[in-house]
Symmetry: C2
Subunit: 315 residues, 2 copies
């Protein structure tokens, strides 16, 4: 089995992927700077002799390049995943997403690694005009620095595929849910309700419609794609066949926690500047590979909330 | 009249724009590092007391920020415009296009300049599937680092418009022709034929179809757009209502020069990796503002070739 290089290996999705790759018998090199990743997520992986963890920064091109030696494929999953606060530090998305991806591609070129799979985001569609939104939606207008930076990464990868003979896959994710989830609305709500069971502040009017996917379903979909790499470059949406509102999700969380808090809405049709009030991706292309979602959004939200309640040390 | 800041002011399109802005009575600050710009193009501008030239690099954020003080609008026209050799230096497009644009936006934020007009490129459509290609064409796949970097710039500008209250216009150009043109196929062919009148090497099979616009028509179109800035963000294609083949263009050039060289084709349907064999943009949106093209592509090619023949010192 070939050697697999995973950036962001200690993150939510990265660490779940690492476990899955190890289960398949691959040798895995995990690369993470632990700025948001957590070694705890790699507890099982670290017991496996096929796993090697490198603590280094992706902006350290020399470290990245030497760490990648001997790899057959790169899963590039490190990112600044903070969509909401992008406007507070406008260079962060450029550095941690665009320059980071450029570094990964250059390290691959140096090491003659040709295959890359990349975690992009449905936010590259900006505020889509077609729902569910297909991969070949109309030319998007970027509404967040995060989305703009992810689209820049996609363009770099696709250019390397065309120009240097790489094979690339870009996954456009909806928000993911599940074990090791440490970022997003379920995290924020559970965290808040643990200390304030009687009330909950909600950004926007609560009617923002979002689609979420269980991380296990996400990883299964990606393994299917990896099994038949494209000749040059392909894009796959990864999302659920349904969506919910923020209020739906709050209902599932509070019911699981046995709470009935008063909801206080900040108002407006979006949570923050650049928030997308409706995300719902067309997943026909990935489903055509035989993949299907096994958990509903409700089950994903409940499983995530349960996991958070059993891991309160995270907060 | 407000003060206007132009990056790439000594370039082909930038210097033509500077002359036009000065003619309108604007105060103009021109910023250029003269890596490809030429002071000769600013001969007239430099005689005008309303023009101030700053020789500095756009990657010098401090110089850029202090130079921009007092401006009301930024025309960001500096770029690495070398589409063909992008693969020889894959960081150049990121530095000179993406980081440069990020610097311009940050300098604007610091100086509270809100209006930006940007020279993007039809190459962001990659290999388009719809002709003529409209602004809302299907989600493009990038085929060159240049196109990918220009799309990244567009995303940054649009995010700043949404997030920081900027007003932005992105122009997606076809290749421009006209006086001060120093880069592209007419330049290459004229330059070669002056020394080798009997033969001409042509990249590809010569049947690549391209659309070109005369730079004077380009600048008129942009002045019309500037006169009614959008509230947030708009994209305009700028191109001709026609296209020609490389062989057409060679015919016009050689006939103007009174030559009949033997053509030697390198073969294949494109000139180089990432070359787009067909570029033809839909210009309904800009034409709806009352703009129209005054020179045909043939007239543009001939005028360019004539100008080059009268400015042989350029070669």
């Amino acid at each position: 089995m070939g050697k697999v290089f995973v950036t962001g290996a200690a993150g939510f999705i990265g660490s779940t992927l690492v476990d899955r790759l190890l289960k398949e018998g691959f040798e895995v090199i995990g690369y993470d700077n632990f700025s948001t990743g957590r070694e705890f997520f790699l507890t099982e992986a670290l017991k496996n002799p096929n796993f090697k963890l490198i603590k280094a920064d992706i902006l350290d091109l020399a470290a990245l390049t030497s760490s990648m030696r001997g790899a057959e494929v790169v899963w590039h999953f490190s990112a600044n995943a903070d969509v909401r606060f992008g406007l507070n530090h406008p260079r962060k998305d450029i550095d941690q997403n665009v320059i980071a991806t450029s570094n990964v591609l250059e390290a691959m070129r140096y090491n003659e690694v040709r295959d890359i799979l990349f975690s992009s985001s449905g936010s590259v569609y900006g505020e889509a005009t077609v729902f569910p939104t297909p991969e070949e939606a109309p030319f998007p207008i970027q509404t967040s620095l995060y989305g703009a930076s992810k689209l820049a990464c996609e363009g770099l990868i696709s250019s390397y595929c065309q120009g240097y003979g790489f094979r690339g896959v870009v996954f456009r994710f909806v928000s993911m849910l599940g074990e090791r989830y440490t970022h997003g609305h379920v995290y924020d709500f559970v965290s808040y309700l643990i200390n304030n069971p009687d009330r909950l502040s909600v950004l926007g009017n609560g009617s923002q419609r979002k689609s979420y996917l269980y991380v296990g379903d996400c990883v299964e979909a990606m393994m299917k794609v990896r099994a038949k790499m494209p000749n040059v470059y392909e894009v796959y949406n990864l999302g659920a066949d349904e969506y919910c509102t923020v209020v739906d999700s709050i209902g599932w969380i509070t019911s699981l926690m046995g709470l009935n808090p008063k909801l206080e809405f900040s108002g407006g049709d979006r949570g923050w500047v650049g928030d997308n009030p409706f995300i719902f991706l067309d997943t026909q292309k990935i489903r055509a590979l035989g993949w299907h979602q096994t958990l509903t959004i409700r089950q994903g939200v409940e499983r995530t909330a349960s996991w958070l309640l059993h891991n309160r040390w995270l907060f």
